[in-house]
Structures are given as C-alpha cells and as structure tokens.
Amino acid sequence: SRTRFAEAFEQIRAQFQEMFRKLFGGGKADVLLEDPANPLECGIEIIARPPGKEPQSISLLSGGEKTLTTVALLMGVFKSRPSPFAILDEVDAALDEANIERFNSVLQEFLSHSQFVVITHSKRTMACADVLYGVTMEEPGVSKRMSVRFEERVETPIVA
C-alpha cells in the first residue's frame, strides 16, 4: 500500500509538472511529501513558479495563477488516474482571455480519457464546447433547459 501510494504520487507529480508548463507556457512546479520518511501520513506541499518569476510561497500567486495551478494539479491527477467525468463550475472565472484559451486546449487534450461538463459565462469556453445547454428562468423561479444559439462561429457545436 505504501509502494502503491508512492507510485501513484510519482505519476501525479510528473503529470502535474507537465500540465503546469503547458498552462503557464513554461515555469516550474512540484508537489512534495513534507516528510518522505512518513509517506502515508505526512502533508503534501505544492511549489509553483510561473515563468521568469522568483520561486515564492504559492499564497502570493495571483487569482488567475492559483486557478491555473489547481487546474494543472487536477489534470495531473486525471492523467495518471483518469476520472470518467469531471464537472467544473465556473472554473474559468478568474482567467484572462489568453489563459482561457490555454485552459480550453488542455481540456481538449483530455477528451480521450474523460468527459467534461463545464459551467461558464465565457464565450470562448462556450465556443470550444462540443455541446451547449442553455438554462433559463422565463417563468421566474422555475429553471428550464433550452436550446442555445451562438452566432459568430466557424464550427457550430451540437446545440441540445
């Protein structure tokens, strides 16, 4: 059980580092056991250094940088242990336009492994989706599922 955790941890660590570099376009990240002598019980430390910046406490990272770091870690976990589906509720809220692009292209990379349901207000994220569901409340207080039209698109997703 100790070896099994250690193996899985190594795999997540490698994938996290790769995903971080993809999402940040460089930089360096790591995930470490606080006490390698006690791998089944010790805490887990996260290190994240965006490209060109000095390594510092992850608490000092910006809102968007924290989001990308977490997404990198989660995708790292997914790649080493694919989860059949993921539901992401407004995970792109803190991201600027360029990072929303990178976020969405990383999701695309995972489509052979996983299925994603994303809730978003971002037109860019909507444009990258395969299927779009709209939810409205024409009748106040009562939710209803409906079709969504999305102009300005080259390839239209299936509108459900």
Binding site: T69, P84, Q115, I119, T125, D130, S143
Partner: protein, 165 residues
Amino acid sequence: MFLKRIILHGFKSFADRTEFEFGAGVTAVVGPNGCGKSNVVDAVRWVLGEQSARSLRGDRMADVIFAGSRSRKPAGFAEVQLTFDNRAGLLRSDEDEVTVSRVLYRSGESEYRLNGNACRLRDVRELLMDTGVGVDAYSIIEQGRVDLLLQANPLGRREIFEEAA
C-alpha cells in the same frame, strides 16, 4: 464516455421534470445568473449521496425540494436520477447501464434506488468505489472553490491524493 443523462424533478429550481443528456467531449452549461446551472451540479452531488445540507448551500436537507415561486406552489418531493454508461465496467455492476436515483419527500422520507430497486446509501458508495467519482471526489469542482486545493492545509490535500492513488 461515462455520464449518460441526469433527470431533475422538483430539485431546487427545477420544478418540472427536466432532462440533460451527456455525450463524449465537452458539454457547456450556460445561462444568466441564478437560472439554475449550479443547481444541476448540486443535483449530481445529492444523488451520489451528499449528506450535508450546508455543502448544498441549504440549512436543512428539505431546502433541496422546490420551494415554489410567484407562479407555482412548492413541490411535495425532490427526485434526481443519474444514469451511467457502464460498458467499460468501471462501476461495480454487471449492467451496461446503471441508474442511481434519490428521492426526498417533505415528510422527510427518503429513498435511494439502483436501477429502480430500493437500496441503501452504502450500496451507492460501493458502486462508485475506486472510480474517482463520488461526493468527495476530485472530479467535481464547485463554484468559487477552484483554489481550495491550494489553500487547504498540507494534510487536507492528502485526501485528494489518496482518492486518486
């Protein structure tokens, strides 16, 4: 592909029976503030056995039953059905398709069902064991909580890694 569809009936703002089908790839759910998108996420967590009303943004579990609106009376129960495609055999079941459902009546009576047959919460949890899916799984990220992994104390993060390992 894994999630096939979800049906909400009387769950939070979904007064009427409403179905969402899921395909392969990325499904985006969009709409104005307060229209019910996060309520769908709550529905998935609830049907998979979420026990804490607080983590579903309510004070009591009865808060998930449609409370009525200007034009509608309150509902008498809340029901959610979640259907999985199990051809890959990831779920502990022999069936190609598995439906988990949960219903809660105003009286407080509540029931879980697996492919239509009454079961216990424990059976739902057993079904999902080792799939990385479930109430505490890393695979559902709620609104506003994406940074949680970074804030959590180092021991708190362990749970995510253990779930994944």
